[in-house]
């Protein structure tokens, strides 16, 4: 159903508040279909917020978005779909190491998607977000290294 809505009704995502309603609907349904999913997402949120300079916000197309200072690390939709943006090099690297897939909409982009269902998936999601977090950490300047 999620795929169908994204494919045929995706254009509605630009209407304010509508994506958040859809996401709330996904969370409501997930309580019955994957009862531990919301706990997994909460635990991922708690873990990411324990890292320095991170915060969460509502993703513009629904879901919880994880940010590091000014960069988005990734976002999780109410049905447990984690989306992360990488460059081509890191995308290929991640695909070779983790059971991730091309983004559910933007196949030929730097985006990857990963479904969270089990406690193991939760750990993988945290590892993926940590990978991006470390990528986006400010690199120490040359003069700092000399010191």
């Amino acid at each position: 159903m999620f795929e169908w809505v994204v494919r045929y009704l995706g254009f509605l995502k630009h209407i304010p508040v509508l994506p958040h309603l859809f996401d709330a609907g996904l969370k409501l349904i997930s309580l019955f279909t994957h009862k531990n999913l919301s706990d997994h997402i909460d635990e991922i949120e708690t873990e990411v917020l324990s890292w320095q300079h991170t915060h969460v916000s509502a993703h513009k197309y629904g879901g919880v978005q994880f940010n590091s200072t000014r960069h988005e690390l990734g976002h999780i939709h109410g049905n447990g779909l984690l989306d992360i943006l990488l460059n081509r090099h890191h995308k290929l690297l991640i695909i070779s190491r983790y059971p991730v897939q091309d983004h559910h909409v933007f196949k030929n982009s730097g985006w990857i998607s990963f479904w969270i269902r089990t406690p193991q998936d939760k750990q993988t999601a945290i590892a993926l977000l940590r990978y991006v977090y470390e990528l986006k950490l400010p690199q120490p300047k040359q003069q700092d290294l000399v010191k």
Binding site: V17, A24, K27, L28, S38, D39, V56, S57, V64
Partner: protein, 314 residues
């Protein structure tokens, strides 16, 4: 879910304040828009603008989340308490706004979705240090409620259904004008749980201008006047008075009904049933789904009865 008294108190306060704000906004906008559109004389229930079922429940969720966020509740608890919030809102509507049970059953999924979305958005927003966005969102929501209240609210729709009767047109016509009590078993779920369904139709005379009565299962009577009476062709009637039940009927006015008959030339007749109604609840995209389904099932119940009576002696 939580046992600490201060936790309980915060959760309860969130629910009560959220509901209080919604009662004020819904009640205020309802009476204001009913007054503005000059409908105080007709429909007893007034107009519920779309904000009443969309913006207000969203705000209700956001307000409740304001009280809940220091508790660091899990997402599933937010959803659970939003369900309780919805239940309290429905109960308050039942007691104070005198809404019917079926009406609340219809509207509750919409309210639950919006209250939950508001609470989950609030959960994220209030966890941020900067609350500027929260204030601007609340302001924006209030502006939408006001603009919606002062906007024009007209929602007149036509529902049309067709049925083939295996009888010649002259056998069908008399049962279209008036029919004896329907004995068919109810097969529409809303009729089964207590929504009134059509039972019988009677007429004062067989000409345009004559009165017609459509009697429903709970004794409700729709008084009608036949405005077009063309035997074997068309019967159109205006609804003069209709009951204002706390259920659906308080939120919808059936304006006109029509039966069109077409001779198919092979001993069968096509019966077309049309109804025009005006809705007093918004958003139309949601409530039209329900009112169309209800009107369609009223049509089909009557038309299947007409088919049964017409085919009896063929």
């Amino acid at each position: 879910m939580e046992k600490d008294p201060s936790t309980k108190s915060r959760i309860t306060t969130g629910i009560l304040v959220g509901n209080l704000a919604s009662v004020l906004l819904v009640g205020g906008s309802k009476y204001l828009v009913t007054y503005l559109e000059g409908l105080g004389t007709g429909n007893g229930s007034g107009i519920f603008v779309f904000s009443s079922f969309i913006i207000v429940p969203l705000l209700m969720g956001v307000i409740s989340a304001w009280y809940w966020h220091p508790l660091q509740l899990k997402t599933k608890h937010y959803i659970g308490w939003s369900a309780v919030n919805t239940l309290v809102a429905c109960l308050a509507s039942f007691i104070f706004l005198r809404e019917g049970v079926i009406c609340l059953l219809i509207v509750s999924p919409l309210i639950l979705l919006f209250v939950t979305a508001g609470a989950l958005l609030g959960k994220i927003l209030y966890n941020r240090k900067n609350n500027t966005l929260n204030s601007s969102l609340a302001g924006l929501a209030l502006v939408v409620v006001m603009v919606d209240t002062f906007s024009d609210h007209k929602n007149v729709r036509l529902v049309s259904d067709t049925l083939i009767v295996n009888a010649p047109i002259e056998k069908v016509w008399p049962h279209v004008v008036a029919y004896k009590p329907i004995t068919l078993k109810e097969n529409y779920w809303l009729f089964k749980i207590g929504m009134p369904s059509p039972v019988e139709s009677t007429v004062d005379g067989y000409e345009a201008g004559a009165g017609r009565k459509c009697i429903f299962s709970n004794g409700y009577v729709f008084d009608e006047k036949m405005i077009v009476y063309k035997p074997n062709e068309e019967l159109t009637f205006d609804i003069l008075t209709q009951p204002h039940d706390p259920e659906i009927m308080g939120h919808i006015d059936i304006l006109r009904g029509q039966f069109l008959l077409k001779d198919n030339g092979d001993g069968t007749t096509t019966v077309i049933g049309n109804s025009w109604y005006k809705l007093y609840v918004f958003p139309g995209w949601y409530f039209n789904l329900w009112s169309e389904s209800i009107t369609r099932n009223v049509h089909l119940r009557v038309m299947q009865h007409i088919k049964l009576l017409s085919e009896e002696h063929v």
